[in-house]
């Protein structure tokens, strides 16, 4: 057994080591390891069935892993029941206690810790003020809107100063405007309280907005853990490149330093140190195409969509290649059937 804190892991508040879980023949978690620093917000991003919810349940204590361990602040919590973990969690549907008032809901974790009545009143008041729900103490959950219910769930999850905050797709049920407001509010609160947080979502946009770092999961394994820009600009593999943002992914072979040969014979100038002969993936983000770019693509527009700030164009290029291109929305939307030429610079192409 290794000690909880190896060298260089000094700031890791949450440490997940080799956690595995299977349900019958289905591998939900395939020896997942990751760490979250004190005060960091790590997003676990993945499609449904990727194992992200199972991982959260293992951390919260609702699911026992088959192998591996979870430590918080150096203490092994793998075998602890949920009640002893000191983790605040916001559930997908909030899981507010329907028979208890807003105040009683938020007071619940404090009561369970036998906090004195005056102290409970003070801290519940503070927590409700923090989520801007002062004055709603006597309401029942069903008398609140979705956004307000979520604030109550958040207040309830942070009122007892948990070591860890877990957010399980908390914004899914909110409409777009409210969702954006709540995302920023949660982020502000999390920063202010310095809460080490794990946030689960399948929405890559949400992940980019909120996170310090993102762990992209698929098929029970972590595909890449990196900062938001790293994930978007330099994805580690096809899955990450495809799942996060819009993308054009090609595959080819390095024919010379800085030159990728595509299957159709085309050569792309890239900014990469991959050795000649290596099989590589090439990622070109649609918004990185610009007129006058060094690598030129000429194709017929098969689909043109106006998106307010940009045009989204689907090009059928010579050689059968399809390209997704975004251009700033200036002037008229190019008509389908027109042939245009776009270019992309080597620095804008990511090779993996």
């Amino acid at each position: 057994m290794r000690t909880a804190k190896g060298s260089g892991e000094g700031s890791a508040e949450l440490l997940i080591e080799g956690v595995a879980k299977r349900f019958g023949d289905v591998v939900a978690l395939d020896h997942v390891s990751l760490q979250v620093a004190q005060g960091e917000l790590l997003t676990i991003l993945g499609p449904s069935g990727s194992g992200k919810t199972t991982l959260l349940k293992v951390v919260a204590g609702f699911e026992a892993p088959d192998a591996g361990r979870v430590t918080v602040g150096g203490a092994d919590i793998t075998a602890l029941p949920p009640a002893k973990r000191d983790i605040g969690m916001v559930f997908q549907n909030y899981a507010l206690f329907p028979h208890l008032s807003v105040k009683a809901n938020v007071a619940f974790p404090l009561e369970m810790r036998n906090v004195g009545k005056a102290e409970i009143d003070r801290r519940v008041g503070e927590a409700l003020a923090m989520v801007e729900l002062a004055g709603y103490e006597a309401r029942l959950p069903k008398q609140l809107s979705g956004g307000q219910q979520q604030r109550v769930a958040l207040a309830r999850a942070i009122v007892f100063n948990p070591r860890l905050l877990l957010l399980d797709e908390p914004f899914g049920a909110l409409d777009r405007k409210l969702r954006e407001t709540m995302q920023l509010e949660v982020r502000r609160l999390q920063r202010r309280l310095g809460l080490t947080t794990i946030f689960i979502t399948h929405d890559q946009e949400e992940a980019l907005v909120l996170s310090d770092r993102i762990a992209v999961m698929n098929k029970g394994a972590i595909q890449q853990i990196a900062t938001t820009t790293e994930i978007y600009e330099r994805p580690a593999n096809d899955f990450v490149a495809d799942f996060v943002g819009e993308s054009n992914i090609l595959h080819g072979t390095m024919s010379a330093p800085g030159l990728v040969a595509l299957p159709d014979g085309r050569k792309l100038m890239v900014d990469s140190e991959a050795a000649p002969g290596a099989r590589v993936g090439v990622l070109m983000r649609p918004e990185r195409f610009a007129p006058g770019g060094i690598n030129e693509f000429t194709g017929e527009i098969v689909e043109a969509v106006y998106l307010g700030t940009s045009f989204k164009l689907r090009l059928a290029c010579e050689g059968g290649q399809e390209l997704l291109v975004r251009q700033p929305a200036r002037g008229a939307l190019p008509a389908a059937g027109t042939t245009i030429t776009v270019g992309i610079d080597p620095e804008a192409i990511h090779v993996f």
């Binding site: 919260a60 204590g61 609702f62 029941p81 949920p82 009640a83 002893k84 973990r85 000191d86 983790i87 605040g88 969690m89 559930f91 997908q92 549907n93 899981a95 507010l96 206690f97 329907p98 028979h99 619940f108 974790p109 369970m112 810790r113 029942l140 069903k142 309830r156 999850a157 007892f160």
Partner: protein
């Protein structure tokens, strides 16, 4: 109810009217046939009959309580276990419900008698020297009635527990609540309606219970339904039996009305 929604219920209503409501009214008519309320005065005035009413009330209350204590854990378990075990639980709870009460009561007589299976087993194993008095007394009636009425308690409670979103007790656990506190603070208040529905059902059914107290009580445990039957069959005093029935009917309605008042507002505590 709209006119359109009313018609499909008509055949059933006619059936009830002709074969249930009319005979009941007719029967109640017996009690005031003489043009006086003398039979009611007798039913409510004489200590003997009041005792029987009180006895009935007491037994019904106790049966309800025992059913609740046995039925809540069972209903809870069935609602929270794996589907396989839940099905097994359902079979165990429902199978007796599909068997005749008469058959089940006779079965209890075989089990509980002085020379019954239970007493013989106890004596042979040396746990007791004399047979326990389990039949033809209060204990026997209680055991039999609880057995017959338990499903009426279990099913509403099962339903109530099933309606609790599993994320809610999970959230409570995550917030630091022990199992006991999850029960008292979460499950119990959220399943009160089921507890109430089951209790009212069992209590009301207990009030008018006949076969089980008649057979297992052996004439020594007098409940109101047994008394009514005696009046009709043995003393042929139909007017008095009718008056007793009327009192029971009114009492039952009162219990039901009271229960309605409490169950109406959901989750406004």
């Amino acid at each position: 109810m709209t006119a359109r929604g009313f018609w499909p219920a008509l055949p059933a209503l006619i059936l009830l009217l002709v074969f249930f409501l009319f005979p009941v009214v007719r029967m109640l008519g017996f009690s005031v046939e003489a043009g006086t309320l003398d039979w009611y005065a007798k039913a409510l005035g004489e200590g003997l009959y009041l005792r029987v009413f009180w006895n009935t009330f007491e037994i019904a209350l106790l049966v309800t309580l025992v059913c609740l204590l046995l039925g809540y854990p069972l209903g809870y378990l069935m609602a929270t276990t794996t589907p396989g075990w839940a099905t097994f639980g359902f079979i165990c709870v429902l199978l007796p419900l599909w068997t005749s009460v008469l058959v089940r009561t006779y079965a209890w007589m075989v089990l509980l008698g002085r020379n019954g299976v239970l007493n013989r087993t106890l004596m042979e194993s040396g746990l007791t020297t004399d047979p326990l008095p389990l039949l033809h007394n209060f204990t026997g009636v209680l055991i039999g009635m609880v057995h017959v009425l338990l499903p009426y308690m279990v099913l509403p409670i099962y339903g109530a527990v099933r309606r609790v979103d599993p994320a809610i007790p999970a959230a409570a656990a995550g917030l630091g609540a022990s199992s006991a506190r999850i029960f008292w603070r979460i499950y119990l208040p959220l399943t009160l309606n089921g507890i109430f529905a089951g209790s009212v059902l069992v209590f009301v059914l207990s009030l008018g219970f006949f076969i089980t107290p008649a057979l297992l009580g052996g004439g020594r445990v007098m409940m109101i339904a047994v008394l009514i039957e005696q009046q009709v069959r043995e003393t042929l005093n139909w007017p008095f039996a009718a008056a007793l029935s009327a009192v029971l009917l009114v009492f039952t309605f009162a219990v039901y009305a009271l229960a309605q008042r409490f169950t109406q507002p959901e989750a406004t505590r």
